[in-house]
Point group: C2
Chain length 361, copies 2
């Protein structure tokens, strides 16, 4: 049915070995032979069979990218930058790899399933993005899978995920981490320095590493201001932590809950920008002005944050930079950092959604 190497070879009057060599350019072929082959390829509209090539050469054109949610610009931005780095136009012999984007929906099972699928395809590389679910069983299962992938030559990169130490002798995984803790800390410090003391925290799902890190940063800032656990204000802050999902609706609901627990909150830090939008919506619906009555802050600095009303104070994570770096690492185009870990700094972006608390009771 389809045109094969042999067809091209027959047409050019050479052996299939020669055609293969012309196509791959990795072996000397006489000028006029090469021309003849090229012409035959053109005339027959020949396209190599990637699977056969992969099988014979033990290579792969695929790079897996696991994300929690493609529809979330957080992952979209990473994926986009990553893909630009590994994709067509790349330096590879065949002109780049294809990104297989796998939407796990945050489900540990889906994560493992996709890792198996990628192992089947003998992917050239695998990038896991976004926070990990912190469950020992699951972490171990993922580590085992990654160890096997790494051992069999697949480049494994974690992007925005806590580093993972693999069992003993297996290959390396390299990590591009985000400074979530530092960013969260600076954000809360910003609020504290504005004079806020009753700060609500609408954070992500308990089991996610990202949630934990951001929360740790938040608490570290409080503690540094003498608001650690045991102090009155500190214990109040603990009460003002509500867990939810990384979506707008969670932000909305959590805010209502927060206002119920303490109608006097003057500031709310959200799990991310999307959640912050939900927070803002809930506050508005409750008749509170932002930042007049309550200051609100997000996280990630997604593109829409600057257009929110008011523009969101947030913590910028250079996601494209992170995605690009992950892409270079997974392609082996960039040497892994010492220790296999590089951390992407985060930056506080102060905008209009935060202000000093009003002096009403």
């Amino acid at each position: 049915m389809a045109v094969t190497l042999a067809d091209v070879a027959a047409r050019a009057g050479v052996s299939s070995a020669t055609v293969s060599r012309v196509l791959n350019g990795n072996y000397p072929v006489a000028g006029n032979t090469r021309e003849r082959v090229k012409r035959a390829v053109e005339e027959l509209d020949y396209v190599v069979n990637g699977q056969a090539r992969a099988l014979a050469a033990a290579t792969s054109d695929l790079v897996g990218v696991l994300v929690n949610d493609v529809a979330d610009p957080f992952f979209g931005l990473i994926a986009s930058a990553l893909q630009a780095e590994i994709g067509a136009g790349g330096a590879g012999p065949v002109g780049g790899k294809l990104a297989v984007v796998c939407n796990t929906g945050g489900s540990p099972e889906a994560e493992l399933t996709y890792l198996t699928l990628l192992e089947r395809q003998r992917a050239a590389g695998v990038v896991l993005t976004g926070g990990a679910v912190e469950d020992d069983t699951h972490t171990a299962a993922v580590a085992a899978r990654l160890a096997r992938l790494a051992t069999s030559g697949t480049h494994v990169v974690l992007c925005g995920r806590p580093p993972l130490t693999l069992p003993d002798d297996s290959g390396q995984v390299t990590t591009v981490a985000f400074d979530n803790r530092g960013g969260a800390r600076r954000l809360t410090e910003h609020l504290l320095s504005l004079g806020h003391r009753r700060i609500g925290c609408v954070t992500g799902p308990v089991e996610r590493s990202t949630t934990r890190h951001r929360l740790e940063g938040h608490r570290a800032a409080l503690e540094a201001h003498g608001m650690g656990p045991g102090t009155g204000e500190g214990d109040n802050a603990l009460r003002l932590t509500v867990h939810g999902g990384y979506d707008r609706a969670s932000g909305y609901d959590a805010t209502l809950e927060l206002l119920r627990r303490d109608p006097g909150v003057t500031a709310i830090v959200a799990a991310n920008d999307t959640v912050a939008l939900g927070v803002c919506a809930a506050l508005r619906d409750q008749g509170r002005s932002i930042p007049g009555d309550v200051s609100v802050a997000g996280f990630d600095d997604l593109p829409f944050s600057v257009d929110a009303a008011p523009a969101l104070t947030t913590v910028r994570i250079p996601l494209q930079e992170a995605g690009a770096r992950a892409g270079r690492l997974v392609m082996g185009r960039q040497a892994p950092p010492p220790g296999g870990l590089s951390t992407i700094p985060t930056e506080l972006m102060v905008r209009a959604s935060t202000a000093p608390p009003s002096n009403r009771p």
Copy 2:
């Protein structure tokens, strides 16, 4: 190196054919033999080689999804729904396909390159999403590529793209189209019925089909209101069309240009929601209130639109529904609609960013 079928066969004391049959479950194997094989698979942590399987069985686990920009939620939403439909957990023998998301950046060359790459991989299906670049040469090139794919058994689906008739006898491509024209028309009618007459139009790149369709809908509404070309108001409307990209910055710049051309515009329809955010920002920066001074409308109804300030009036496209349908079609799980074309209706969402024009001069 890696564990192969033969290794498993040896361990289970059977032939590799039997192992293959157990794995695929497509041939009777005696109960205890099956058990033995399964145990051997477990013990050796065997994972089939997808490439070898694909080569031997002439099948593929890959479905290509071409998008203009993964980071844009418009495409993210489609991709996400599509992936849920084709992905792990699906009904296929091996449990679903992998989505290869290809970011074309709107570049025709990248589009062709990716199609070649997908043809190489003998993808089981290909979905092209988003507006097409309307250039005869390019359209013909794409049509030729798709014809070859379709002929060789790859399911080809267009989602949010104008239908394409392939040369003569080749396979079918099925299309899931959006009613951009109708949506745009209803949107402009909404503005007209509010009393607006000087309506600016910040639209997308000239060469894109989506741009053309939305513009046609816009103009049809004007014409139906006696504001066709030749009439004073109609010609003014033509002057008030500015082309730009589908990004926020374009919306910002185009708005400034629009205000220069006619400082008295009372409403602006944007190419999409993202552009609308830029429009809003520019208006605010110019001291115009929304919708007090100028009404603004978007398109697509992306999730953030409801959180914009003010909440955007827009045209909702059920992107997830579209993506899911495209997914089912590309998997062959749903019969193609008669004529190979199904159209997704769009819905006008009236929110706070549009209001009657103020009666100032």
